[in-house]
Amino acid sequence: MDAGRAGADLRYQAGAGPKTITERFTPADLAGRRCRSNHASHELGLSQIGLLWKPIAMTADSVSAGDDPRLLLSEVRTLAGRVRRDQRLTWVALLVLAAVTFVAIPFDWLFMKVHCDGSGCMFARRGMLYYWPPALLLAYAAIALSYVRAARARGLGARVLPYAITGAATVVVFTAAYTAAAAYFPTHPPFGGGPLPFWWIVLDRLIAPWGLIGLALLVLARLERNVALLLFTLGYLALVLLVLPTTDGMDLPGWASPSFMSGTNIQLRLSMTPSQLITGAVLLAAGIAFATARRSRR
């Protein structure tokens, strides 16, 4: 590999093994030796392209220059994977998001405006606009800070900034969409006030805070190259977009309200709670599971 050193006393190392040879060998000599490595045929191939006969007289080469490209690549991948695992703090992100989801429930209840007349009831969830934008911004800031502090304590940089930026962007999207909807739809009901198509319902759920939390988690899973988080997030998104009526309220059959909650007003407020409880519980359970898995790995 390092040409033009004829006559010099070069030290060569055979394969990735520990033995250093100080004599002069030709590649043919060495290729003829019995290879003790598990990668015998592979090393033979490497020797023939001259890769194994590498001078190791480089500065500070106290560690052998294991030149098997497969081993080198494998080591690089292993080290990168270890760094990524050490940078992760997935459980903190999930627990913070679970806490934010649970705290939203009383805000939603208290600030919901309900107007009923003979034809039916209209409701506006004002609490969502009052609570979620600042709460999500604080949550993403807290998550980013936790990641940075934990990574720094371990001697690493953090790769959480794109997640926090995505989270902040989703807050802007949510605020803009809900403000526009609150201003426009009371006088111009979508689809003429008739039944809503399913894609519209899914879109409505996607730009709700619970859907946007899932979108930001997808970014976190990509940043961390965390397959477990990706799978969880896909399941979570399926739940909040396709299963739970997060924006419409849920009337559970046989769910008898206590007598002091029998009014339509209260029933409507109550119907919004189960979806939020389930979403928070799912995030909480996932956070605990990730924390447990991390502890058991260590």
């Binding site: 050193r5 030709t26 080290l79 001697g155 940089g157």
Partner: protein
Amino acid sequence: MTADTDTPGPPDHPATDLDEVVHQRVRLGILAIAHEARRVEFGYLRIHLDLTAGNLSKHLTVLETAGLVDIEKGYEGKRARTWVTLTTAGNTALAEEIGRLKALIARVEITTEDQRS
């Protein structure tokens, strides 16, 4: 006969392009960790590469001299901390080295298959 006279690889062989500074197990490991971590502390490198402080310092000096990493020394409280950051040149060198390693593996596989057939 010397090794050099017997191993004149073809000029376009991927092995001829290998950068001696990067193509070394420990230094490649340092670059890989620094790339993944954005910023890595000396102690983390020492533990995960299983090196002595002196040995790691020598490798870091080689990389810093080549302009592949930036080294920043400071204190956190009373504790001395040395942070290593990959430079743009280091990033490029790492990407090129990995590309060459992949090319070499592909070349070796072709060579081995030819010998078997």
